[in-house]
Point group: C2
Chain length 253, copies 2
């Protein structure tokens, strides 16, 4: 089974069943998570864990937590008062399918579930570090702050891209390292890798949206930085993380 499919099985396991009350809320949460995209954030997290000597099993709960945060952000970003997107991955967006109120609540519940997974899935000293990392990356001076700047009209600035996208990539790589009980040096390495990967990811996203074709050079530079950061890990360990970096550059919608 490939990694994305393994992750899907765990996402399904950690989500309450669609038969659990309130059904419409759990259906809306599941609709926001399945079928997903490429599961790039948990994949980065898991490969970072493996590169630090960890394994899939230990990384899985944290991988699902960052994917739940990503899903919540998409549900809220799609709302009429935000980006007003009626479609997501070729289907009606969550609020078109379940109504705005349920979409807002589904996002709220996915965010809450993410912290729940980290608190329940790890030894306290690791779980607390992960929760600090994730809350800092996604709060008012992280992802949510980036979305606020974005809707205020600061589109495509380096700062918006860092807050809105790259910080969650950075946190994903750091959480993977933490799940493997990595030391400070390796965590710092993975954090740098993740942040640069996220910057490249957002630049490519903007190119795919037709917003600025000149961003390809920026994306290339970020990917080089991400790969350079991995040097200290040693070659065989870094190989799969380098491959992920390359796929970011060549990805399509």
């Amino acid at each position: 089974m490939n990694l994305a499919k393994l992750i899907d099985k765990d996402l399904d396991k950690f989500l309450p069943s669609a038969k659990t009350e309130p059904r419409i809320l759990h259906e809306a949460m599941r609709y926001g998570v399945f079928p997903g995209g490429k599961r790039i954030r948990p994949i980065i997290l898991i490969e970072a864990a493996i590169a630090c000597g960890g394994n899939y099993r230990e990384a899985a709960a944290a991988g699902c937590a960052v994917e739940f945060v990503h899903a919540y952000s998409l549900i809220h970003d799609d709302l009429p008062s935000m980006d007003d997107d009626d479609y997501r991955r070729g289907r009606p967006s969550c609020h078109k399918k379940f109504g705005e109120a349920n979409a807002i609540l589904a996002g709220d519940a996915l965010l809450t579930l993410a912290f729940d997974l980290l608190a329940n899935g790890y030894a306290p000293w690791i779980g607390i570090k992960m929760i600090k990392e994730l809350s800092a990356a996604t709060g008012s001076e992280g992802m949510v702050g980036g979305q606020a700047l974005d809707i205020a009209g600061n589109k495509n600035s380096d700062k918006v891209n860092r807050l809105k996208t790259a910080k969650l990539f950075e946190a994903s790589a750091a959480l993977g390292a933490l799940s493997a009980r990595a030391g400070k040096k390796n965590i710092a390495t993975l954090r740098k890798y993740g942040l640069n990967l996220g910057m490249a990811f957002q630049a490519i996203d903007d190119i795919l949206d037709g917003e600025n074709i000149h961003l390809r050079k920026d994306a290339g530079i970020s990917i080089d930085k991400a790969k350079d950061a991995l040097a200290v890990l040693g070659r065989p360990r870094a190989e799969r993380l380098k491959k992920i970096a390359d796929t970011i550059l060549t990805r399509s919608k």
Copy 2:
């Protein structure tokens, strides 16, 4: 200084300044928190801590966390797609003042900040227990689930009141006990106290909204249960918690 004013000082301390970017987001978060109501949840939390041998200082971060969760829930509940309230405590509600998008994001950021405070304010083994307690009480099978049932038309049922309101009261009392390093028996006692207090609080809320005058008897029963639960704590310790219970019954809007 009275307790509510002490709490206000700490809420102010833990919130990013309104001068921190993105300013509009931080202004909206602060608008949702100040001026608050009676700060009943953090007061319960702090008095529960003191009744278990703890103190204000140790309980403060958790008290602010539950108040941030409460503020986020009000901001999201007031949105047009939810309860559609244009006013809150005599002022325009958050979305009327800052727009819907910023109100949604302010709620998201307050929820994230709540978990951040618990992760940063306590020894890991306590912080993790608190985060488990808060996420379970406020997620899809807690407060958010209650709001989903409420907007689906299950108004005023016992289940809705328990999920939407009482679980956060229960968690507040339990978090206070945890901050005081209370044992399992005292935590269970405080949890029972908080849950019953919350049920009474919601019943009185419905009476004040003119929804069902017959609920006063239910509220009285819940308050009796809450006070009975305190018996095991011993009289002097339980005195202030009993007083809080009595004020719930006689409270006005």
